[in-house]
Each structure stands twice: as C-alpha cells, then as structure tokens.
C-alpha cells in the first residue's frame, strides 16, 4: 500500500518478494559464470600450442565418419552380452543375498558360502576375473563351442556383478523394518512366505535406483571382454586407432556409450527422486 513501485509484484508478501529477488540474482550469477567458463574453454583451448595436433588426433571428422558404422555394428556385441548377463546377474545376486540372509542354523554353510562369494568377487578386479575364467576354464580342455570366450567371459561378469548386486539386495532386505517380519510371522506365515510375500517385494522396490546404477556400470564393463577375444566396440575402436594412428574412434565409441548411459543415468535419477518423494 505504501509502496507505489510494487505494482509488478502485486499480492506478494515481503518474504516472497525477497525470495524472488534472491532467485533472480542467483540465476544471473549462474548464467554469467557458465558463460564465462564456456567462453574460456572455447576461446582458450584452441590457443594451446598443441591444439591442432590434438584436434587432428582426437576430433577428426573424416576418421569418425569412416569408423562410426563399424563401431555401431560392434556395439551390438556389447548389447548382446549385456542382454544375457543382466538377467543372470539379477537372479544370482538375489540368490546370494538370500543365502547370506538364511536364518536357520542348519543353513549356516550357505551363509558362509554367500559371504565368501561376495568377499572374493567384490575384492578381485573385474579384468582379473575375466582373464582367469575366460582363459583358465577353457584351458582345461573343453570342446567347442563350450570353450567360447563369450560364455566364460560373460560368466566372469555375472559372478563379479552378482556379488555387488547381492550386497545391494541385502541392504534392501535389511531396510525392511524388523517389525514387519515379526508381524507376518505372528499371522502364521512361514519364514519362506514372509521373505517371498512381505520382505522381498518391499526390499526390491527400495533398491531399484541403486540397481540401475549397477546396470549402467555393467554396460561399460562389458567392454572388458574384449581382452579375451570378442570384438566389441572398444576393441573395434582400438583396431581403428592402430590402423589409422588416430584416437578419434575412441571418441566415437565414447559418444555411443554416452548415447546409452546418459538416458539410463537420468532415468535412475528420476527413480531415485520419485522414491525420496514417496518416503517423505
């Protein structure tokens, strides 16, 4: 009333006006600093003495055009390995989690097995597991096609990732409050029924966003199979790199990976945000 200039913000409280002003200011600061940083990168990087050489070696349009179709083709191998590994990991991971959670004293060996499994396969670098299983087991003298690097390399990925996934499932199981278990038991449900019908449905839902992150990581680690033979995108890019003495194919491979992983990451973020909202 006493402020003639407040017509634009009519109906706003003083607090709201203050907040709007703060938002406006922070927007301006954010925009300015982003523009400055971007301008610095765009203007300064090409000024570096080696920029032309780097551009020729890493961002070469002709090389990219030449190698991209074959890179996409090789990426199908990644997708294939991913497609059969991911379900196997989910199943084995859940089984290991359940083994570690076994309550009956008679099943104690199962708990030990679960603990040993996660300790070993989480502790050994993926690439070592891939090498040891991928070359080691076929070396025992299996006939073809049972000695295929696709089979044993995938198994190495499955074992390693199951160990991580099992731990995430276990944290999900632990996140279901103990009172739910007690309540279900008091209703006369068996231990098995409690786990299957009460605990697991909640546990799995709770850990979906974390498991999404494992999927994204797996998508990238499929490339480790290239060390034992399969020509997937990383190896194909390496072949081009060596033939053309140019690193652009790696940039091409990175673009293809990003095209898949960025949407997946955003989706995981979305799931996580939604879950947090639900919990509030």
């Amino acid at each position: 009333m006493a402020r003639p200039k407040a017509t634009g913000a009519a109906g706003m409280t003083r607090r709201e006006r203050y907040d709007a002003e703060q938002r406006r200011r922070s927007l301006i600061v954010a925009a300015t600093s982003t523009v400055i940083v971007l301008a610095a990168i765009i203007l300064l990087v090409p000024l570096a003495p080696g920029w032309e050489k780097v551009q020729k070696s890493f961002f070469n349009g002709a090389v990219l055009a030449k190698s991209f179709p074959k890179l996409l083709d090789a990426f199908l191998v990644n997708v294939m390995i991913f497609a059969w590994s991911a379900p196997a990991i989910a199943v084995l991971g859940l089984l290991i989690a359940l083994a570690r959670d076994a309550k009956s004293p008679a099943l104690f060996p199962l708990r030990i097995f679960g603990a040993a499994f996660t300790d070993i396969f989480r502790g050994v670098p993926v690439i070592l597991t891939v090498y040891l299983i991928g070359f080691g087991i076929p070396g025992l003298g299996l006939p073809r096609p049972w000695n295929s690097p696709y089979i044993w390399g995938s198994l190495a990925l499955i074992l390693t990732y199951s160990a991580y996934v099992a731990e995430i499932f276990r944290s999900g199981i632990d996140s279901v409050h103990h009172s739910q278990r007690s309540a279900a038991l008091s209703l006369g449900l068996s231990e098995r029924q409690v786990m299957r019908d009460v605990v697991l449905p909640q546990a799995v839902r709770n850990v979906v966003p974390s498991q999404m992150n494992m999927l994204i990581a797996l998508q990238k680690d499929v490339s480790l199979l290239s060390f034992i033979g399969p020509v997937e995108i990383f190896r194909q890019a390496g072949v081009f790199k060596s033939l053309l003495a140019n690193f652009t194919p790696y940039v091409g491979a990175a673009i293809i990976f990003l095209a898949v992983t960025i949407p997946a990451t955003r989706y995981a973020d979305y799931l996580m945000a939604r879950q947090q909202k639900e919990r509030r």
């Binding site: 080696g50 070696s57 070359f135 690097p149 034992i228 033979g229 060596s242």
Partner: protein
C-alpha cells in the same frame, strides 16, 4: 688420477671434433653427440635378444647399431630407452630420436609421425594350434578355420580382406593373449609376421606350427617395418641415407640373413 682426467678430457675433445666434422646428424639428435633409440618393453626375440638391445644381438638391435655406425656414432654413443606403441604415436615431443619395434608403415600413421625408409619387409605367416596342424595351406582350407589376431596390427585388415574367414575372428591385446587363446583351443589359427610366428611356434606354444606364409606382395599392402620418428624430425634424411647405404652394401641383407634366416621352410600360400 689427473692422468686419467686429462685422458678423459682429451678423449672428449676428440669425440667432439669428430662430431663437429659436419656430419649429417650434428645438432639434430635429442642429446648432442648421442643417438637415442627406443624399443619395446620388453623387446622380443628375434628382434632383440634377451631383452638387451645394448648387446647389439637380434635383428633390430643389429640394424640400430649398423645405422648408428653409418651415421657416425660410436656404439657407446647409442642410448636405449623403452616406449609403448601408444606413447610413440600420440601427438607431442618424443623422448627418442627413433623408435624400432616392428612398426608397419601405413599412410595414416605417416600423417601423425614420420617413418624412415623400410628396413625390413615382413611376410605374414599363419600359425596354427595343435588341433589344426593338418590344415592345408590353401585359401579354402584357411577360410574354414577359427581365426585370431592381435587387434592393433595390420594382420586385422589382412584377415578381413585377403583370407575372409567364414566366422568372425577374435582379436586380442597382445601376443601372449593370442597364445592363451590358441592353448585354450578357442581359436585354430592366428596371423603374425613371419619372424614372430616362428618364435611363437618354436618357443611359446607347444604343438603349434607355422603352416604357410603370404608373399610380401600378395596384397597391395606388404608389411614394411620403418623406424618411427617425431613428425618433421630433421634426422629422417640422415637415417634414410644410412639405410640406403646399408642396403647398397648388402650389410642389411646380411643382418637379416643372420637373425631372420629361419624364414626358409615355410611354404607360400597361393
């Protein structure tokens, strides 16, 4: 004590005057008066014996010392360093005057680095595992095999364009991994340059055999090894001159016969 000192000084002066004698390489090497040569880590038989290039034993070590001698460097002025493939082709300054580790000369590589004139033309050879030693060395016989190769070598285009196998080849990071795959019977055959194939079959993979070789001119792209140098290296002219002189005199062929004479006894694939 002072005698030794003055002797050293005198020797140093002699060598300085020798270098200042207007030789081609003067002022063009990394360290004045020294020739810095890079090789692989480790470097393999028969290119370098016992991973000790300083001995001059092995084909590339011998060629290196012959070239150095031709350029006016004494043996003790040759300094050896080690490098990986990626280190050598990335843009930027190099820590060697030239790099010898069986670099095949390709036009694409030549855009990023410089190559000397070729010092060896390597034929490609077929190494088969114990399960496939009876394979006939014909195109039809080879197509049916399960193939492997090192992914960073020119064996890959050779496989794709010349042999065109029936099933997709498997590719590996280095020779040791190809060996493991042959030993595990995951692949029947692998394509290497002949000297490497002979070494692997003789020493590394029991029961394997080199069943044939492609004539160096069987494709439009024979594998020629060149010394790799930084793009625009002024030393290239001197190295080429030395290699030309060694080829002319037959010294290069003699070195090749001495270290790579095993090349006989492997039939040509037609």
């Amino acid at each position: 004590m002072s005698k030794i000192l003055s002797l050293t000084v005198a020797l140093a002066m002699v060598s300085t005057t020798a270098m200042a004698g207007g030789h081609c390489a003067a002022g063009k090497t990394l360290t004045e008066g020294k020739l810095t040569i890079a090789t692989g880590n480790p470097a393999y038989y028969p290119w370098v014996m016992d991973d000790a290039p300083e001995s001059g034993q092995g084909f590339e070590a011998a060629v290196a010392y012959a070239v150095a001698g031709e350029m006016g460097f004494a043996s003790e002025d040759v300094v050896w360093v080690r490098s990986s493939f990626d280190e050598a082709i990335q843009p930027g300054a190099k820590n060697f005057d030239f790099n010898m580790q069986q670099y095949s000369i390709t036009p694409e590589r030549d855009e990023v680095v410089d190559f000397s004139a070729p010092y060896y033309t390597a034929p490609m050879a077929v190494l088969v595992g114990p399960g496939a030693v009876d394979t006939e060395a014909t195109m039809a016989g080879l197509k049916a095999l399960k193939w492997g190769a090192v992914g960073s070598t020119t064996a890959v285009p050779k496989l794709e364009n010349v042999i065109q196998p029936d099933s997709r080849p498997l590719l590996y990071g280095d020779n040791a991994d190809v060996n493991a795959a042959i030993s595990a019977n995951q692949i029947d055959a692998a394509l290497f340059d002949l000297p490497t194939a002979l070494f692997l079959s003789a020493v590394m993979i029991e029961g394997s055999k080199v069943i044939g070789q492609f004539a160096p001119d069987a494709s439009d792209n024979p594998d020629q090894f060149g010394m790799l140098m930084e793009e625009g290296n002024a030393l290239k002219a001197c190295v080429d001159e030395a290699l030309a002189a060694l080829t002319e005199s037959g010294a290069l062929a003699a070195i090749e016969a001495e270290w790579l004479q095993d090349t006989t006894g492997v039939p040509l694939i037609k």
